[in-house]
Every structure is written in C-alpha cells, then in structure tokens.
C-alpha cells in the first residue's frame, strides 16, 4: 500500500500546489479577504455576504459587455456604485442591532443577489444561469505575453524580460523581509537573529517555489495586474488602519458604546467599513472575471464567502499581511489536497479505503473531501489558533481578562 506513494506524481503535486499559491484564485481571494478584513478583522462586522459584493464587481464588468455595450473600464465605477447600494441595503437595517442580524441579513441578501442574476426573469440584464461569457477581450489581447506560451514566476525564466526580472526580484525580497520579520516578532527566542535569518530562508523558499510555478500566457497578464491590485489595495488599507479613521474602526470592534460615548457616530463608521470592504471585494470579482472573460453566477454562492473567511482566518484577522498570505496558503493547501487525493486515488486503483471504510470511490468525490477538510481547518483554527498565522498572540491573551 505504501508503495503506492512512490507511484504518485510528486512533481505534478508540487507544481500544482505552488502554481495555486501565486495563482488567480489566490489573487482574487486575497482582494476579497482584504475587504473582509476591514469589516470583520478591524471593525468586527460579521459580513457573511462577501460573495455578493464580489458578484457586484463581476457583474459590473460582465454587464458592460452584455447589457450596456461599453468599455469594460466603466465596470469599475459601476461596481463601486453597486457595492455602495448593496452595502446600504444590508447595513441600514442591521448595523444598529446585534451582530447576529448582520450575519443573517448579509448571507441572505448575497444569496438573493445570486438568485436574481441567475434568474430567467432578469436574463436581459444578467444572462441567467449561463452567465456572461467572452468579454474583456481588449484587456486580454493587449498583452506582452504569448497567449499559447508557458510562464513562471521564476525571475530567471527564459521568457522573462529584464523589467520583469527586476520587478519579481524586488517584490519577492520586499515580501520576504516583511513576512520574515513579522514571523520573527511573533516568536520567542533570539529575535534579532531571527529577523535576519527568517527573511533569507523565506526568500529562498519563495524563489524555489516560484521556479515550480507554471501559468498559461493568456491569463498571465490578469494575474500580474491582479497581484498589483492586491499590493496597492493592501498598502492603502495598511495606511488607513494606522490613521485616526482606523483607530475609530478598531475601537468599535472593541466596544462600540465606549466609542459612541466619545462622540463618534458609530453607525456611520460601521456603514463606511461595510461599504469600503465591499467595494474592495468588487475588485476581486472584477479581476477574477477579467482573467477568464466570463462571469458565472454560481461562483458567488455562500461557500465562496465562507472560504474567503477561512482564508482570512488562516492568515490572521486584523493584519494586512495575514489577509494576503492567508489566501495564498489557503489555495496552496486546497490544491495540494485535491491533487494529492487525485493521485492517491489513481495510485490505489481508483478507490481509497481506510480500515475497510470506502472514503473515495470515484474521483467526483474528491472535491467534496477537499472542501470538507478545509471546513475542518476553519474549525480547528477558530478553536486552537484564532489569531491565525500572523495574528498577535499577546492581543488574544487579553480576551480572557
């Protein structure tokens, strides 16, 4: 039985996993997670309708092609407009009430939005359950990449030009230093040394990982642009949360009555946080649909919200780095489990049994197993490591007092 492990294609597993870490899914999840972090991580608002906001972005772009027949660039202001309206509808009735109400109403309205966009009744606008396909061509076609070529994030890839090389090296080193130092600060032991060693180790790992990645040329531009969007939005939120506005938002998470007694209109701040987080999430929806030139209503079900939440909790709440690295790891783990299970099923002759209990009898079950395990990860994280990978243990320790 164990021999079967050596029959598995480990190279494929590694490539698939690492490609997912930097892939489109991780990118659009990261954008949505930054938004959810503003709401849930910083302001303490339990928004369970993030998929609805993402759908606002996706459909804003899709409708420029399907309904309005205008340049997809108009999708950006429209998405922000939709997110504002959607946020107001969700927030106005609930933000004066206990947090449960927000969770219930956001999850319900996001689901309603999905029912509406996939309905026959509104097919004229949203094209029903077929979704909207084949748009954003101008965006994909004006690309420096060869549509049929293969690309990686390895800076010394033969396809990379000088600019790309320098950019990748720069981004990798900055990110390694940031992440490495952050981890070092969370650890006990010789901090000063760790602050030097960890970034180097992480840089090496990232370079090794990047070498394994493999992307098609067609979507490569959206991938690069998408990660740039992640970076810009992340930086803006980082600054915003260090401003007096961020201070009020964090105060509301701690105790809204106290903040109210100090003369802040917490209802308005909560609405702002909800809408800002939603508006950010629309960019996730936009980048995802642009990368495929297609919008599918069922990509925005409640599961999407839940998995964005899982990714965010994995990275760590109320940390910008956490909300970016969390989705990368989430998709890495997800892809690893699914390719691993697939290979395992192949190697074991199409059937996985443990102690006579058939766990996998057909490859169509693998998807369910992957999602189930990710759900388990969410539970375990919430119980045993609520601060996630990047959260602050010291802050968590204050809860009990």
């Amino acid at each position: 039985m164990l021999a079967a492990f050596s029959d598995m294609n480990w190279q494929l597993i590694a490539t698939a996993t690492l490609t997912a870490v930097f892939g489109v899914d991780a990118m659009y999840f990261a954008i949505a997670a930054i938004g959810l972090n503003v709401q849930f991580g910083y302001a303490g608002l339990l928004n369970f309708g993030q998929a609805g906001f993402m759908a606002c972005g996706a459909y804003a772009i899709g409708m420029t092609a399907h309904y309005w027949n205008i340049s997809f660039w108009w999708g950006i202001p429209m998405a922000i407009g939709y997110a504002t309206v959607f946020g107001l509808i969700m927030g106005i009735p609930t933000l004066r009430l206990r947090s449960d109400y927000l969770a219930i109403v956001t999850i319900a309205l996001a689901e309603l939005l999905r029912l509406i966009v996939r309905s026959v009744t509104f097919k004229k606008y949203f094209n029903g359950s077929d979704g909207i396909n084949g748009f954003g061509k101008t965006f994909t076609e004006e690309t420096p990449f060869n549509p049929s070529g293969k690309y990686s994030l390895w800076p010394f890839d033969q396809n990379a030009n000088l600019f790309g090389r320098v950019m990748l090296l720069l981004i990798f080193s900055v990110a390694s230093v940031m992440v490495g130092r952050m981890i070092a600060d969370r650890l006990r032991g010789p901090r000063e040394k760790l602050r030097v060693i960890l970034p180097v180790v992480i840089f090496a790992l990232v370079m090794l990982g990047a070498k394994q990645t493999e992307y098609g040329g067609l979507g490569f531009k959206s991938l690069i642009v998408g990660w740039l969007v992640v970076f810009v939005i992340g930086a803006l939120i980082y600054m915003l949360m260090r401003s007096p506005w961020g201070r009020v938002i964090k105060g509301i998470r701690e105790d809204e009555e106290a903040v109210r007694s100090l003369g802040k209109n917490i209802y308005s701040y909560k609405l702002q946080a909800l809408i800002l987080g939603g508006a950010i999430a629309t960019f996730g929806g936009m980048m995802f649909s642009l990368s495929r030139g297609s919008v599918q209503p069922d990509n925005y079900s409640r599961d999407t919200t839940f998995f964005v939440l899982t990714a965010l909790v994995l990275g760590g709440l109320a940390k910008v780095t956490g909300s970016i690295v969390g989705p990368m790891l989430y998709w890495g783990i997800s892809q690893f489990i699914s390719v691993f299970l697939f290979e395992l099923t192949q190697a074991w002759g199409g059937r996985v049994e443990i102690f006579g209990v058939p766990l996998i009898t057909s490859s169509s079950q693998i998807g369910a197993w992957v999602q189930g395990l990710l759900g388990l990860m969410l539970v375990l994280l919430m119980v045993f490591r609520p601060q996630g990978l990047f959260g602050n243990r010291k802050e968590m320790a204050l809860d009990g007092r």
Binding site: A108, L378, M382
Partner: protein, 438 residues
Amino acid sequence: MALTMFGLLASPVQAADITIKVRVQNQVKDEATGKSTKEPIAGVKVVVTGADGVVVAEGVTDDTGLAAIVVPAKADYTVTLDESTLPDGFVLADGESERAVTEDNFVTDSVTLNFFTGNAERTSIGYWSQLAQRLADGARFGLILAMCAVGLSLIFGTTGLTNFAHGELVTFAALIAFVLNNERGWSLLVAAPLAIVAGGMFGLVTNEAVYAPLRRRQIGLISQMVVSVGIAIILKNVYLAYFGGRVKAYAAFNRQTCTELGPVCVTPRDLTTAAISLLLLVLVGVALQKTRIGKATRAVSDNSELASSTGIDSQKIIRIVWFVGGMLAATGGIFRGLDEGVSPFLGANLLFLMFAGITLGGLGSAFGALVGSFLIGLFVEASTLGMPIMPGADWPAPFDWLHDGVPSELKAAPVYVVMIIVLLVRPQGILGRRERVG
C-alpha cells in the same frame, strides 16, 4: 457514526441521459364523490426548442401518456405541446400549450412536466381554489419550517449561538431515513423514528463535542458562529461525498393521489405529516409553558446567570435543548424530504427561511420562531400566486408582476424583503422583547 453508516452504503454514481419527461393526462372529476381521476392520453406530439428558438428534440406520448425526450444538456428550453394532435374534444385545462424549463429545474437528470386536458369550464381551476390550495401547501410547509426553526431558536436563546450548521442537522436525519428506507429496504415507519432519534443524538453530540467545550473555554459567540460555519461546510461535504448531489425520493409513500378536501386537494401522506407537525409543535408549546424543564428553558433564555443562581443547571437545559431541537429538526427534514426529495442541500436550503422566520418572530423567542416560520412558509407559497384584480382591469405598470405573482425561481425574494422591513420597523420581531440598551 455518520461516516460508517454512509460508508457502508455508498452507491456508485452513474451517468444518465438528460431527459424532459412530458406527461399528458385527462382529468375527470366525479361530481358525486368529489374525487378526480386521471387517464393518460397517447399520441400527443411535443416539441422542445432551445433558448435560441431552434428545435432541439421532439417526442410523442406513449400509452402511459408519457413522452421521454432526451436533450443534449441541462439548459433552458421551451416545451410546446402540439394541440392539434390532441384527440378530438380534448382541450388543455389551462390553455397553456407552452412551458418554460430552466436549467435549475434539472435538479436531477430529468424534469417532468404535466399537461392536463379536460372540459375547459370544469378544470380551469378558479383563482380562489388555487389560492386555497397554495395556502394549504403553505401552511404545511410553514409547519415543517417551524419544526426546523424551533431548535435553532432555542439554541440561540439558551446559548447565544447563531448556528449556521442547523440546516445540516435538518439534512442529517433525512439522509439517514433515506438510507434505511431505500438502501436497506426498511419501512419508513421504522426508519423515520430511528432517524429522528439519531437526529436528536446528533444535536447532542454536536453540543458535547464542540460547543460545550468552547463555552467552557469562554470562546466568544462570534468565534462560535464561525465554528458553526466550519461545521456546516464539513457536514455538507461529507453528505455530498457519500450521497452525491442529486435529489432522490424516498421509496415509501411517493405515489399518492390526492383527495379533495373542500377546495383543496391533499394526499393522505401530506395530511398525516401536517397533522403530526401540528401535534408536535403544540406539544413543544405546552411543554415550554407548563413543564418544569420548559419553564427552566425559558428562564435560561431570559437570563442564564440569573437562572443559574436560582439553581437551574443551565448546561443540562442546553443539552436537552440540543436533543429536542435536533429531533424536531430531524422530523422537519424527513417531512421535507417526503415533499421535495432528499439531497445534501435539503436543510441548507431551508436555513435562510428559518432565519427569516426567527427574525420575523423575534430572535431568541421560541414562540416567535414558531409563528414567524409558519408565516414565512405560508408567504413563500402564496407569493408565487398572482393577484389578478379582475378581468379587464389590472395592476398598473410597475406592479404588473403582481398579476402573475413572483416567479417561482425568485420566491425567496419577498421573504427577504419582509425580513428587512421587519428589522427596520420592529427589530425585536413580532413576539421578541426590546433589547437591553446601554
């Protein structure tokens, strides 16, 4: 337990042709007994056109009145019955020879459409009897929903947890009953009670294994809520892995003709489930009002610290609530399964409606959940029926959809609108109390 039970019974999933089944029947009502009988009509031609208007496939009904038409994919189609091929003297009861099929209608690999013929003036069902039928169906659905929601509400009341995995608790028993009934061949009359007890146990185990330890560790309610989300994901996918994503019907009680009861037509099965639901809900209500445990439950919901200080063991009450709530949810799940077929999404699809019912009734109030969910069930069914004012006069432009009612694909929409209005106008719900401020 769930794992092994399903594991033993996992059945291979086979691919089937995607078909639209059209059944054409003549409906005859015996004026003396009030019973209606249906006879198949053979030789009727049916044409299926795609969304682009191109004919995809055709078929002719056989001796059983059935035409099974294979279509290339699950997509949107229009099914047209060729009225000229109906036997002489037969007309379509509702005069509608065209029906729309949407991709969503293919919950399984096939969709069945029923066309009824008959003498036009007799079988065109009047508006009021249609309304009566909808209300009867709605009341039945409302009772089922209320059974599912009472547990959710009691759990919320006693522990503060908004349990996002409650839908999966509803599904659990429906699946267990399905496995016992369809795959083990047990009678549903045996399988259902067993599954209901299993549902109660499942609730209890969830509490003991997950939430009780979390409460002991003083994990916040928001974190507990997120944990319940995780549990919902796990359960749904375990169900999915072993059961597959299709909707399947119980072997028992699934072919019944309805008998007319005044203006409405119900099957004995539906009548029985409605009666049992009503009985159980009344029992719960009485128990909450009269019994010692019921009173203690309400005391814990009101103020658990105060209740503890008066000697009530609130952890014990919480265990009872999970068990009883689990059993009620299980019953609701099985009844729903009898109505609509069983799938891993059965309960999850009801969760939003339960939330709406609880919000309408008042968060944390068990009676509120009961009343609210019942009203929501009624409302969901009724909202798809139009409100034509009178022949000749009808609703002005922005309200013209009221003529035909809410399209059934959007029948959840009015519920959410009601929920938002309730939160704006009376956030404490019909029976809830105003929040303690400051």
